[in-house]
């Protein structure tokens, strides 16, 4: 793998911004000492468990928990009527019950919770609870949900949000017109650290302490307070070690349940989800049906895009409305286009609830717009890169919402630098090890069965929250006799904020001894670890808090060394006079002094979209390009990804090794969506709630990755650094699919359509045979 940056570790330097400092929790993690939320225990703790609906839609006719109470070791059984406060939660609308009342709307919906002395007693209790259901016909087709005549499956109706975008002249049409419909399946975040929480009640039940793996402590706190009927300050959250999140922990799952059981029993309670339970216990990426029609002039320049999006939000709204806005506002991709008509729906069905997953609606839009750009390239007789180059957006161009892209927008550079990365020197179908060929260990394929394809994808992704949401972050910087302590509520989920926060502090303050205090609600909100926002927002907050402290340090320096604080700055570990160069170590200035500053960092305001989809609704943007080289066994439809190359617009790599980790990890998830990962729903039931049949890429499936980091610091970003979490998982998916199409096109002439994502073996087989693919297909 080649990169353009320095990846030496912290022993080579001070561990400031720009260095590949190693994680402060790394040693604990490799020794197995790091405590994840599932590793926590307390004396006298009970186990909790959840009874879930087996039906996608049913009326609860009778619910009798008394048989469970008679079981040895069972301490309590709670249902909807036991919810102390609001029996409703939700990130945007509180439309989801904490425990079901009268009706269940998805398979897995929580109906009752139990606490017992052992997991076995919990299981016995769950089995003993009597629930009589009257099954109802589930609504599983999103197209039906759009129809106003469809039976409402929820008091709020079946349409969660409809958003239209009208830009420019809708009557314009192009010399070239290409159209496609893309069906994107449901992806799961599949974080390895299963849901787990431990709640410890205050004596008298006046409050509760919750240790939980989550993405946003304060949002959990607010929703908990409402459902527990407690003031927020009585609900104290501490971040338990998080084993990955990727959007799957933004919504509540077990938080209220764990606290309810703890408060009712007066004892600590732990709830751990199993993997099959986790599959139904959190939201998923929205399945989407997207139709796009791209119009271009005779030179291949886009003149209009028409699009229709239908996102299946499942039973409860979660963040579907924001996901929809993200999807539709990214319709055009990182390209200029003056005219557009877009209609988007996020609808309610009795399928599994969907919400945030890394990429948040833009993944789906990008799959569609990149396939469209390839179709356009073919129609115009241009190469896939050429058509993208001539349409590439730049700083100052507008989205179809009218918003000007003020961010650094090095789209051409992303494309060019990706193109320049060396192609793999792996020959076609190397046969010295089974893993060199499609089919891998299965020995299905010989070299003569393999064709190699190359494909590209380019993306734009918004950073931070949108439509007027003020997702600020807070940080506190304490310097006590030279020891720096940072306090924040930023959820570390593996992305490495705990690594860069001290780097920022060391850089700003010139002090090297930096600790991070417990991550809990003992300081203001940091917003969610999502939307590629924490480097910018929490990094910005830490930076701002440290700068406030630094200002005081410089005042103290001026008092000691003469003059005004503006004459001084921090250089490496010294305070230095800008005029005459006199310097004094910062540690000396701060000796025996205490500094303590807390700052809230806000990004610039945004506005909601109006009815025509116009409005400066996004905060900032980042860009990336991907190239995929893929070997395909077209007869069996099996795929081996040989290499992924990417150039990503990162602004500034605060920690290059961390950035590379995010990029490689994001690429793995995007690759998974391209060819392996789909939750199979059947009449509202999930058919593959296990790692046996929900297939994540293994180390045998991930190819080497070539990375170019494009560092053009963004003047809007507090440290010049853009978020890097989502861009890597977005355009890699269409790049892999394009490479598969390219391979297929070598065995048979004519356009190749792969409209279902993930691409299944039979899809490749059919495309290679030249069969057209119908919309609803089995395999």
């Amino acid at each position: 793998m080649t990169t353009t940056t320095d990846t030496t570790n912290q022993t080579a330097g001070r561990g400031v911004i720009g260095a590949s400092v190693t994680r402060p929790d790394g040693v604990a993690k490799v020794r197995g000492e790091f405590e994840f939320s599932s590793d926590l225990s307390a004396d006298g703790a009970l186990w909790g468990a959840t009874l879930r609906s087996p039906y996608p839609r049913a009326r609860i006719v009778r619910l009798d928990t008394s048989p469970a109470l008679g079981i040895a070791g069972v301490t309590c059984v709670l249902t909807a009527e036991d919810v102390p406060g609001r029996n409703a939660f939700g990130l945007v609308d509180a439309d989801q019950p904490v425990l079901a009342v009268d009706e269940v709307r998805f398979v897995g919906e929580p109906v009752a919770i139990v606490a017992a002395e052992s997991p076995e007693a919990c299981a016995a209790a769950l089995a003993a609870i009597i629930v009589d259901y009257e099954e109802l016909t589930p609504l599983i087709d999103p197209e039906v949900a759009i129809d106003p005549a469809s039976e409402s499956i929820h008091p709020s109706g079946n349409v969660i949000r409809h958003q239209r975008i009208e830009c420019g002249d809708p009557t314009v049409s192009g010399h070239f017109v290409v159209e496609g419909t893309y069906e994107i399946g449901m992806q799961d975040q599949a974080f390895l650290g299963l849901e787990a929480a431990m709640a410890i009640p205050d004596p008298g039940g006046t409050g509760v302490e919750l240790h939980v793996a989550t993405q946003w402590l304060h949002e959990d706190q607010a929703q908990l307070a409402a459902s527990l009927a407690l003031p927020p300050e009585a609900v104290r959250l501490t971040l338990g070690g998080v084993g990955g999140a990727f959007g799957g922990r933004e919504d509540l799952s077990l938080q209220v349940h764990t606290c309810m059981l703890a408060l009712r029993t007066g004892r600590p309670v732990r709830i751990h989800y199993s993997r099959p339970e986790s599959f139904v216990g959190h939201v998923h990426r929205h399945p989407a049906s997207i139709t796009m029609r791209h119009h271009a002039d005779v030179n291949g320049r886009l003149v209009k895009i028409e699009a229709r999006f239908v996102l299946d939000g499942g039973a409860y709204a979660s963040t579907s409305s924001a996901v929809l806005v993200n999807a539709v506002t990214h319709t055009q991709g990182p390209y200029r286009c003056d005219n557009a008509v877009v209609d988007g729906w996020a609808v309610r069905t009795n399928n599994l609830p969907c919400g945030a997953m890394r990429g948040f609606g833009v993944v789906q839009a990008c799959i569609a717009h990149e396939a469209q750009m390839d179709k356009l390239a073919e129609a115009c007789g241009m190469s896939p890169l050429e058509v993208r180059r001539i349409n590439a957006m730049a700083t100052g161009d507008r989205l179809i919402t009218g918003q000007i892209v003020e961010s650094v927008a090095p789209v051409l550079r992303c494309i060019d630098e990706t193109d320049r990365l060396p192609l793999p020197d792996v020959p076609l179908a190397p046969a010295d090890h089974p893993y060199g060929l499609p089919g891998g260990a299965g020995l299905t394929t010989t070299p003569s069965d393999v064709v190699r394809g190359i494909g590209y994808g380019v993306s734009i992704k918004n950073l931070m929250y949108s439509e007027g949401f003020d997702d600020f972050s807070t940080a506190r910087c304490i310097v006590d006799n030279g020891q720096v302590t940072l306090k924040f509520a930023t959820a570390e989920v593996g992305q490495g904020f705990v690594t860069i926060a001290p780097q920022i502090a060391r850089t700003v303050l010139g002090l090297d001894a930096v600790d991070i205090d417990t991550i809990d609600t003992g300081v203001g909100s940091a917003g969610s670890t999502s939307a590629s926002r924490q480097t910018w927002m929490s990094g910005g907050a830490v930076d701002a808090a440290c700068r406030k402290v630094r200002e005081k340090i410089l005042e103290a320096a001026a008092a000691q060394m003469g003059g005004a604080s503006v004459e001084y700055t921090v250089d490496n570990t010294d305070v230095v006079h800008l005029g005459d160069g006199r310097r004094m170590p910062v540690v000396d200035i701060v000796r025996d002094r205490l500094y303590d500053e807390t700052v809230e960092y806000h990004h610039r305001p945004t506005v909601p979209l109006d009815q025509s989809g116009r409005g400066d609704c996004h905060t900032a943007f980042a860009f990336a390009a991907h190239r995929a080289v893929v070997d395909v066994d077209v007869e069996l439809g099996l795929v081996k990804v040989i290499q992924i190359a990417t150039a990503q617009d990162v602004g500034r790599a605060l920690n290059p090794l961390s950035v590379i980790g995010q990029i490689e990890g994001g690429i793995a998830q995007g690759l998974g969506l391209a060819v392996y990962e789909e939750i199979i729903m059947d009449g509202g039931h999930i058919r593959n709630a296990s790692f046996t049949d929900y297939l994540l890429p293994t180390i045998a499936d991930m190819p080497p990755v070539e990375i170019a980091l494009i560092e053009e610091p963004d003047p809007q970003a507090p440290l010049g650094a853009k978020g890097v979490g989502e861009p890597p998982c977005i355009s890699v998916t269409p790049a892999v699919i394009a490479a598969i199409r390219d391979a297929i096109s070598q065995v048979r002439p004519g356009p190749v359509d792969l409209p279902h994502i993930p691409v299944r073996p039979m899809d490749i087989v059919r495309a290679a045979r030249g069969e057209s693919l119908s919309r609803a297909m089995a395999d």
């Binding site: 190693t22 084993g243 010295d432 893993y435 593996g494 990890g665």
Partner: protein
């Protein structure tokens, strides 16, 4: 409740208090012996997060019935490395092979088994020997790097 028994873990003989009939080695390690380094992520042998060594052989502890391995030598992540950290563990930290860390203990154990058997492992062998350990955060690139760096250092070559 079944008969109490003992397990040999990381060189020590430990009594297993309050055993439950038929439970897995993973559950016994975590819930009865307080050795929580071994992680639970799927309980069906598909992810490798619970990997341990049983008489030096790599296994998913979720698939081992604890009461059936009472005379085997079990090694968990807590038992690797003299003075508490091995060269492999160090390399994982230094090469950026750890993000959320949930898969890490299982991978560390698997990497030890791999390099014991294949000190000159090619990348293909590394992939084959670690195919049973899922990671959702890193994309595996830094993990492969870490293992190669250890293999090179052990051979005494200069990196």
């Amino acid at each position: 409740m079944s008969k109490p028994y003992q397990l040999h873990v990381n060189g020590q003989t430990l009594d297993v208090p309050d055993p439950v009939p038929g439970e897995s080695l993973m559950t016994v390690l975590r819930e009865r012996l307080g050795l929580r380094g071994t992680k639970t992520a799927c309980s069906e042998g598909e992810c490798g997060s619970c990997s341990v060594l049983v008489d030096g052989e790599l296994m998913c502890s979720c698939l081992v019935m604890a009461a059936a391995v009472t005379d085997r030598a079990i090694t968990t992540v807590e038992g690797l490395g003299d003075d508490g950290i091995s060269d492999i563990q160090r390399a994982f930290v230094e090469c950026g092979a750890v993000q959320c860390g949930f898969c890490t203990p299982g991978l560390i154990v698997a990497a030890h088994a791999l390099l014991d058997r294949h000190p000159d492992a090619t990348t293909d062998t590394v992939r084959e020997e670690l195919a049973g350990n899922l990671c959702r955060c890193t994309g595996y690139g830094r993990i492969i790097d870490a293992i190669h760096s250890v293999a090179i250092a052990r051979r005494g070559d200069r990196p």
